[in-house]
Structure formats: structure tokens, C-alpha cells
Amino acid sequence: GAGVSQSPSNKVTEKGKDVELRCDPISGHTALYWYRQSLGQGLEFLIYFQGNSAPDKSGLPSDRFSAERTGGSVSTLTIQRTQQEDSAVYLCASSLGPSFTYEQYFGPGTRLTVT
């Protein structure tokens, strides 16, 4: 079946503008994760959604970052007043359940460049 999809694949924006990144998880996956990966680095956890539970926002780097998941499916990561240090690849992943049980399936990522 279809995997995790993300859009856009690339986004170039000017410093100070807001951006929205979209993630469509695999159908039936209740868990959804957002990560950020800077050039040559590992993955930095941002936020986790599990079913109808309150999201784990412990990885969001500042209050300029927010995310929501509508109807338990599609998720949008919003970055307000973008800064150059926000430039990175933003990866979304979904899984059947929490990470202590299930592996994660990743989307292709959105490469964000803030000029």
C-alpha cells in the first residue's frame, strides 16, 4: 500500500515568513512523529501524536513551532517567523503504535531552506 507522504518536497522561504509542512501517514497508523535533521546530523525528535492522546511536544525547539493532527490522520507542522537555523530536512514517520513496540515508517521529507 501507499507509504508516508510529505509535501512539499522542497520549500524555500524568506526569513520571517511562516511555513506549513504536511504529512500523510499510512492508513491505520495511530502514531505519528515529526523529526528534524540538519545537514550531516542525526534525527532530532520534535513531536509525537498517538491516537486521541495529548501530543508529546517535548522536542519542539521554540514556541514558533507547532503541529496538529486532524482526524487522527493528516498532520501539519507550522513554523512561524522562520529563522535561518530552521533550515533542515523535516521528516515525518508513522507507526502502528508506540515506539517501544513498533518500527516507524518514514516519509521522504521536506527540505526547508530559509534565506
Binding site: 512523529y33 542525526g42 534525527l43 515508517y105 518514514f106
Partner: protein
């Protein structure tokens, strides 16, 4: 330092040779997972080994886990040029310890013809 650190950071081998990557972590885990990443984009799940398992195989992949040493290794046998990628280990906390995977910084593997 980070939970889940891979060693070496970079590895270059000839096609047909075996590649071994190591991962160390700091806290108790429920499972450890290995992922591959091509061209800095999406990660592909390779294998998951639970804390009560010591070794697991999948095709040309062999993963070991030593919870007493808090370390894991990934062995790729008879490597191919297509195995060129970055490999990450990720640890999952025990139940009740949160829900996020913690990734290391990865090993860049280059397999040359």
C-alpha cells in the same frame, strides 16, 4: 553525549566485504532499531531487536544486542554498492519511559566497486 552513538562515523569498504557498525546507548531500552538513509531523505527500517533478544538475522543483515554493555552491532555481509548509505541506530524506551525513538548520529557507509 547522545543516546545511540554509532561507531565508526564513516566506513569505506570494497564490494563483497563485510561491514560492521556499532551503536552504544546509555539508558534501559525496550528495543533497538536500525535504519538506513539514502541521500539525506527518508529512513528505511531495517531490523528491530528487543531487549530480551541477543541476535537477529534478516537476509544479509545480522544484528546483535548486549544489554549489559548497552551496545549493538549491525553486520552487513557480502556488501554491494547499493548498500552505500547512512545507517542509524535508534533506541526505544521501556514502557512508561516515553514514546520517542532516540537516534544516533549515524555511520556513513560507502561500498566501492
Amino acid at each position: 553525549s547522545q543516546q545511540g552513538e554509532e561507531d565508526p562515523q564513516a566506513l569505506s569498504i570494497q564490494e563483497g566485504e563485510n561491514a560492521t557498525m556499532n551503536c552504544s546507548y546509555k539508558t534501559s531500552i525496550n528495543n533497538l532499531q536500525w535504519y538506513r538513509q539514502n541521500s539525506g531523505r527518508g529512513l528505511v527500517h531495517l531490523i528491530l531487536i528487543r531487549s530480551n533478544e541477543r541476535e537477529k538475522h534478516s537476509g544479509r543483515l545480522r544484528v546483535t544486542l548486549d544489554t549489559s554493555k548497552k551496545s549493538s552491532s549491525l553486520l552487513i555481509t557480502a556488501s554491494r554498492a547499493a548498500d552505500t548509505a547512512s545507517y542509524f541506530c535508534a533506541t526505544a524506551p521501556q514502557r512508561g519511559g516515553g514514546n520517542k525513538l532516540t537516534f544516533g548520529t549515524g555511520t556513513q557507509l560507502k561500498v566501492e566497486l
